[in-house]
């Protein structure tokens, strides 16, 4: 490990950290070192293990193996409380603030100063005084008595930082702190980070904005697929960071077959949703799989939900088979032949309490009913047909959907859209939470669907999956489609560079 700019003592050393989830090794023998006064930037793609590592440090997860040393002493962190007591403050993207309470109450939450000799009575004067002192020290113009919910996002973040200072945290972790901030607010944040450095704290900073790295960081540690890759100075060229993040072998074979694309099936033009989608346009043809890549929060799910009518659109037009369709509700999209296989099958794809048969017919009850009365025989027969053709493993179509495994549930959602004769199938993270064997089956189904003339739009955070299955790839960033890649351009470096707004770095 190369250490740079590390003038201070080592505050935190994590080594050999391993964390397994059912079916996945999220972290495998990962290490990390933070010195006093250092800002360590943690880099990695979606799913590289950054958040998991920080959750272990913050006490939200337990590592299966590994050692955490604070100032040379090994420590056990079994709960978020332990982490706080040890001087580790983690600021998550979703703040841990009670928005109805005041700034000072949030800063001292759980550590409220008491009036001596009067048990349980809060010393408000002292609380205000000490909060003021911290805010002044960080040069933050916030009133300690202000209600947190009425502050902007940036100021709420400052309250979180003030809390970590008041708790005397040696280690402050910030998970994508700038993702919701304006440029001006980012400058203010960087200034506060400098204050923390000057106090001798160690800061761990997770970000996807590579241009920030040299501005705020001193050292960079890169993770990839749950493995430690390297630690380099923050002043290294940005192209180096990208190379370290993607240098991965494409070992897995994808059952991809080239299909001669047919007529254009879906076209969207200038889709707008304020603050979420920005002038998004694309088209997809029969027989084609269009991948949509991008970082978490880039607007990919929002894009496909808007096309499906699940979320409201401010502007834009949607065409199916060349004819414009007004999509205001999922019903409109379903009628036009669009089906959405959502990211979270349990909460959005299926009614888990109901049977497989009922879930299959849910989007097209008209085919199995007359005058509103269901023909239960037809409902079951149709479901049995799909159980056979999609090889859905279940002893009976009357089983509730909740009894199925992830991959099987995904097939039931697919059956629902095949039953409603969808010709545009939108897969949002098609294999999330699905074990390896079932993943291949999902890919095979996608391949046979496009062979039969369907058009597939696939949102995925797994680059190998995007590259292995797509004919073309759109890259999204900040609600806009920033790149369309096909053929030789379709590689990990190009996709990641576009997703992180660094296209020029690898364009040559």
């Amino acid at each position: 490990m190369t250490t740079t700019a590390g003038s201070g003592d080592v505050l935190l050393r994590m080594s050999g950290i391993t964390k397994r989830f059912p079916g996945v090794v999220a972290l495998d023998d990962v290490q990390l070192e933070v010195r006093a006064g250092e800002v360590l930037v943690l880099l990695g793609e979606n799913g590289a293990g950054k958040s998991t590592l920080m959750k272990i440090l913050g006490g939200a997860y337990h590592a299966d193996a590994g050692k955490i040393e604070l100032k040379g002493r090994e420590v056990k962190i079994n709960s978020p409380r332990d982490a706080l007591d040890l001087g580790i403050a983690v600021i998550y993207q979703e703040f841990n603030l009670v928005s109805q309470l005041s700034v000072m109450e949030n800063v001292f939450m759980g550590r409220e100063p008491r009036i001596p000799g009067r048990p349980g009575v809060i010393d408000w004067a002292r609380m205000r005084r000490e909060t003021s002192a911290i805010l002044r020290e960080l040069d933050l113009p916030i009133d300690p008595g202000h209600q947190v919910g009425k502050l902007g996002v940036a100021q709420q973040q400052m309250v979180e930082i003030a809390r970590s200072v008041s708790a005397n945290a040696d280690i402050v972790v910030m998970d994508e702190p700038t993702s919701a901030l304006t440029n001006h607010e980012i400058i203010q944040l960087f200034r506060v980070v400098k204050q923390l450095q000057a106090r001798g704290a160690g800061v761990i900073y997770i970000s996807h904005r590579l241009e920030e790295v040299p501005q705020v960081g001193t050292t960079v540690t890169v993770l990839r697929d749950g493995h430690y890759v390297d630690t380099v100075p923050a002043s290294s060229p940005i192209a180096d960071f990208i190379r370290l993040m993607v240098g991965r072998d494409l070992t897995q074979q994808y059952p991809k077959k080239l299909v001669k694309p047919g007529a254009e099936v879906l076209r969207v033009e200038h889709l707008e949703r304020r603050g979420v989608l920005n002038d998004a346009s694309f088209a997809v043809r029969a027989g084609e799989i269009l991948g949509i890549a991008g970082l978490v929060g880039a607007g990919r799910t929002e894009l496909v939900r808007a096309i499906f009518g699940a979320d409201h659109l401010d502007a834009g037009r949607i065409f199916v088979d060349g004819k414009e369709v007004g999509v205001h509700h999922p019903v409109d999209a379903i009628r036009a032949g669009i089906g959405l296989l959502p990211e979270d099958r349990k909460t959005q794809g299926l009614v888990l309490l109901l049977s497989i048969a009922e879930n299959v017919s849910m989007a097209s009850p008209g085919d199995v009913s007359r005058h509103g009365f269901l023909d239960l025989g037809k409902v079951a027969a149709r479901a049995r047909g799909f159980v056979e053709s999609l090889r859905i493993r279940t002893p009976s179509v009357y089983r509730p959907a909740r009894s199925l495994s992830g991959g099987t549930q995904q097939k039931v959602v697919l059956a629902k859209w095949l039953a409603s004769r969808s010709r545009v199938l939108i897969f949002d993270e098609p294999t999330r939470g699905i074990d390896v064997g079932a993943k291949v089956e999902v890919y095979q189904l996608m391949t046979s669907l496009v062979q039969q003339g369907a058009a597939i739009v696939m949102v995925s955070s797994e680059l190998p999956e995007v590259l292995g299955m797509s004919d073309r790839v759109l890259v999204m960033r900040g609600g806009s489609i920033v790149a369309e890649l096909a053929g030789d351009e379709m590689n990990q470096e190009r996709i990641l560079a576009a997703a992180m707004g660094q296209e020029h770095v690898v364009a040559a």
Binding site: P22, H329, L374
Partner: protein, 341 residues
């Protein structure tokens, strides 16, 4: 990251077991009912007489009808606190149409159903259009509005002597089967209740809309993304609940030959209790017509039996409270059984 088990023997087995526990829970309410009847039959010779059973039918009918409406609401994860007050308003409107306007009882009946349905639509729109945070609030408001309106239009006085006609027929008449000592009198309202239960059974199990009610309660977002018109379903279930309150008002008006603004006080809680005792989940998506019938019968038999055994009415209230808590605890156990996988 998924923690679902592989589809395998172990899962299939636990599935079987849970199906059995579900059957046991469903049977549990029925067994409870049978046990109650047995206890009362042994304790009092007058319990199992045809006269007393007809009495139970009469006392249970109104709650049984309200509980059906409440069932479809709770199936969507909602609640309708207004049914008792809606019943009162529908009842006094019915009485005023007949006595003050001098119209035929059939017009009074239609007016009662219309009032019930209209207030139900109001409940549905408050929820889906004004986006009030929970139906507890919208129907709590509607409860006060309906009760207040019933008091305002009657000046707080009850209206009696509704005369003869369809309302009296439904609420008060009987069919005599057989003759002499073996004759059995079956209240007409019992036929109304049976008809309603059979109709609701088919509606909830066999129609597209019925299944959409279960889907909406089981997972509103998945239902919406499958093209289920969730908002329309919600308006519909409150309309049905209001309509059933109107029908219950007809039965009660016929039985008492009157309309009074304080009718139906607390009836909403009895209807909710019947659903809950019958195994309807407060979280939506789970509940049956047969369970609701059993729940309503348990409440009716319990009240009647305790009366026959001359248990103090104040103590009766305590007993019913305990039964409700026990039934909800069963619901908790059932949910836990469903989760422990």
């Amino acid at each position: 990251m998924s923690s679902q088990p592989e589809p395998g023997a172990a899962v299939a087995q636990s599935e079987e077991r849970r199906n059995w526990t579900e059957v046991a829970f469903q049977l549990g309410a029925l067994l409870g009912l049978i046990l109650l009847i047995a206890i009362f039959a042994f304790s009092s010779p007058s319990f199992l007489t045809t006269g007393n059973l007809a009495g139970i039918a009469r006392q249970t009918s109104v709650n049984a009808l309200l509980a059906l409406g409440m069932l479809v609401v709770i199936l969507t994860g909602g609640i309708d606190l207004s049914v008792g007050a809606v019943l009162a308003l529908a009842m006094v409107v019915l009485a005023m149409v007949i006595t003050k306007a001098g119209l035929d009882q059939s017009i009074g009946l239609l007016a009662a159903l219309l009032v019930g349905a209209a207030l139900g639509v109001g409940n549905g729109l408050l929820l889906t259009r004004l986006h009030l945070p929970h139906p507890f609030i919208s129907t709590l408001g509607m409860m006060n509005i309906a009760r207040g309106a019933a008091l305002v239009i009657t000046g707080g006085a009850s209206i009696s002597a509704l005369g003869g006609g369809i309302v009296k027929f439904i609420g008060n008449d009987e069919i005599r089967l057989g003759s002499g000592d073996g004759a059995v009198s079956i209240p007409i309202m019992l036929f109304v209740v049976v008809l309603a239960y059979v109709g609701f059974y088919f509606f909830l199990n066999r129609t597209v809309v019925g299944r959409h009610i279960y889907a909406t309660g089981g997972n509103p977002e998945a239902a919406r993304l499958s093209g289920v018109p969730v908002d329309r379903i919600l308006v519909l279930v409150y309309t049905i609940s209001g309509l059933m309150a109107g029908l219950a008002a007809v039965v009660l008006a016929g039985r008492t030959d009157s309309g009074y603004p304080n009718a139906g006080l607390g009836f909403e809680l009895d209807a909710i209790s019947a659903c809950i005792i019958g195994g309807t989940s407060f979280f939506g998506g789970v509940g049956t017509v047969s369970g609701t019938l059993i729940g309503a019968l348990i409440m009716g038999v319990l009240r009647n039996g305790l009366n026959i055994m001359s248990v103090d009415t104040n103590w009766q209230t305590v007993v019913i409270g305990a039964v409700i808590i026990a039934a909800v605890y069963v619901d908790v156990l059932r949910r836990r059984a469903g989760q422990s996988r």
